[in-house]
Symmetry: C2
Subunit: 100 residues, 2 copies
DNA sequence: TTGACATATCGGAAAATAACGATATAATAA
DNA sequence: TTATTATATCGTTATTTTCCGATATGTCAA
């Protein structure tokens, strides 16, 4: 929970976009392999497609969001599913409100 | 109110520091020219001193916070006083909570 | 008007970030 | 086993950010 690291992660249009998509995954992605996107998350290729950037960039951005603690990752077979950590988003909003 | 611009402004240790100091100016600065720091603000040289960076850098960081809308400026004589815009800080916390 | 101080702005060097292509790794399918 | 697919990582170039010194501007005091 490093505020600076979190704000850096949020300082990029594409990463903000990803976070917003992951807020309501079924509004933004088509179902995949019978996975419940709300509980399990969305895989890298789906995000890559929507981002219209390379797989490399998408993967790196997801890692940045992950390290900032804003999303969680789960590997299932050859896919890695990422989903928002709602608690973390709440928490940083609270920190902003109380400590900054 | 550009979220990205605001998050960029918050992505720097020194600028976060300034914002936090300005939350309780009289805890962090000595009174100056009989000015009420809470209503009027704190001048650039006081912030420069505490920051331990050059006047140039301090002034630029204040401009970045100003353009992001996080602080307000008032020129009185040869001094420019900066103070937090509490409303703006609240607002970005709300945006974070609701829209991101 | 000149001098002294406070602040703003300009131009730059070094470090960090953005985004890519190429390649490595991991897991499944054939 | 080998081929294929999904993801991660590496190395790179272009851009942005950090922070500085030098200088310009603005304001007051003598």
């Amino acid at each position: 929970m490093e505020p600076i690291e979190i704000f850096k992660a949020l300082s990029n249009e594409s990463r903000l976009q990803i976070l917003q998509w992951l807020k309501e995954p079924d509004r933004h992605f088509i179902p995949h392999e019978g996975i419940d996107m709300n509980t399990t998350g969305v895989c890298v290729s789906q995000i890559t497609d929507k981002l219209k950037m390379t797989q490399s960039t998408a993967s790196q951005y997801l890692t940045i969001l992950l390290k900032a603690g804003l999303i969680k990752a789960e590997r299932i077979g050859k896919y890695t599913y990422y989903k928002r950590d709602e608690n973390a988003v709440e928490k940083i909003a609270d920190i902003l409100k109380k400590e900054i």
